[in-house]
Symmetry: C2
Subunit: 338 residues, 2 copies
Amino acid sequence: MTKKKIRIVQFGVGPIGASVVRLMRQKSAIEITGAIDSDPAKAGRDLGEVVGAADAPWGIRVSAEAAPVLAGQVDVITHCTSSYLKDVMSQLLACLEAGCCVVSTCEELAYPFRKHPELSARLDAAAKEEGVALVGVGVNPGFVLDKLVLTLSAVAQRIDSVRAVRIVDASKRRLPLQKKIGAGMTPQEFRERVAAGVIKHHGLPESVAMVADALGFAVDQISETIEPVIADDLVKTEFLEVEAGQVAGVHQIARGMIAGAEKIFMELKMYVGAKDPADTVTLTGEPNITLTIPGGTHGDIATAAVAVNAIPEILAAPAGLRTSRDLPLSYFAPNATP
Amino acid sequence: MTKKKIRIVQFGVGPIGASVVRLMRQKSAIEITGAIDSDPAKAGRDLGEVVGAADAPWGIRVSAEAAPVLAGQVDVITHCTSSYLKDVMSQLLACLEAGCCVVSTCEELAYPFRKHPELSARLDAAAKEEGVALVGVGVNPGFVLDKLVLTLSAVAQRIDSVRAVRIVDASKRRLPLQKKIGAGMTPQEFRERVAAGVIKHHGLPESVAMVADALGFAVDQISETIEPVIADDLVKTEFLEVEAGQVAGVHQIARGMIAGAEKIFMELKMYVGAKDPADTVTLTGEPNITLTIPGGTHGDIATAAVAVNAIPEILAAPAGLRTSRDLPLSYFAPNATP
């Protein structure tokens, strides 16, 4: 093979970024050329060591600053720093202005057109200016409650309404995730954290918006609720215990309404001790169709997977701001050629 | 709206073509401008009457000849005439040379590169010459055993093997389909019809090939078997009876092998009285994932659906021979603008 590898820089080396990096090392078409993380515990260290690779050191240093890394020859940035689009705008614009495609796990980038129309337009314009493409990907938003719905919609003659439900057993997930969903809190603490904006899984309204636009539902209101799931019995995980009456996790519902009528219902229950974890999509129309992933799509594994798998697709995509709605989404074979 | 509608000609007005036509009439972005069918029972008649539309006549005459219809202003041909690529080459080339995009339900066109590399190259070249795109779509091949597999593969970090099983209860399907699968025959008759090439659902090797190529499996052999499903008990459908010991339908298996090891297993059981109809995809790897459509994707409804839903996508696709692997595949909203 004389073809050059895809040169990639990892932007953000937290748990998801590290997982993305480890997976990218398994793809022969990829060469990781750099990494960016401002965390003093990581900056200056070898990337392989930071991500806990058995074959470290790799000779790739994590840089605290983006500019020097982006000045090199880079094809794609894999970006995993924050859920909020406002917080990452300057990072994304710097990547685009350096002429790089971007695959980001920023939840609000998965379908930003409703919540952030101006930021969306700026990103789209900047990408087109440079002839590159960017996309926000993930499991939720980005796959279970939207891409999977749209793929299933391809075999429907008529769709009247959509229901997508994701139930995640957080017992086997990382401690930070168990804490993030409020496991072990009192209901009072939980509600305070929700009010403070600390407890919330991001992305349900983005999924509702993507599905509404793709299915031609002129949704005029997207509502969202967050409630605690209260444990009925004691739940023990590797990391913590939740007593009966305490919070086991979050229960979020987002609805897409047209003139007060519900067209789209999306539900996320993520809690320790969840009984029947599964992802389920139901389309009502002609015909009625239901699709289930028993056990559910594994959040952490799948987020890294979908980010890495999207790399060849974003390189092939037309310039501009793309979403998982536009891309075929498939597997990036380890032995694929660049 | 000042935008012009998508002008479409239906090529082939059999049961599937008629279903495609009826569905296209529900899309405000589509204008059906003509139809082609050489059957003397249809040619010369009004298309609305031929497809049994309540609001017939439509003032669209079915033409026995393709050339005069293709000479008009046409954007897309929806093509539903035969399962065999060889049989439809001249039809497809005529459509492309008229500058039309094509969405076809020809099973062998779904992924023709292995079985018909030369025909594939000719179609690709002809399409690129005219700056248009064509695609073969359907439920199987085209969706259940391939597109759905690839979509699910987007959340996998590593895939070792694939298993996709489609079990269809033919009891509620059309009589021609029940006959096509051999329902009511003796096992001896069934085997004779298989040997004569009359009984066979087309498309399993195409699905295996698409999945193999997308997942980077260097499959060196695709095998296929066709066996009868024998009825254990009497099965009655609206159209026929199958006694115990008679054939209830077909059982086909296709395998993709690498050096004798099975990497891809695809199974189709289509018979009257099937107990648990369902489509099930299983990926083994990191992680293991299973997806199920209980009841299964409805063959006839979904074939027409996916053909019509692919229309905007083939118009937006790069010129050349495309497959459902390349397209996002989603719903074409009835109120979508052209």
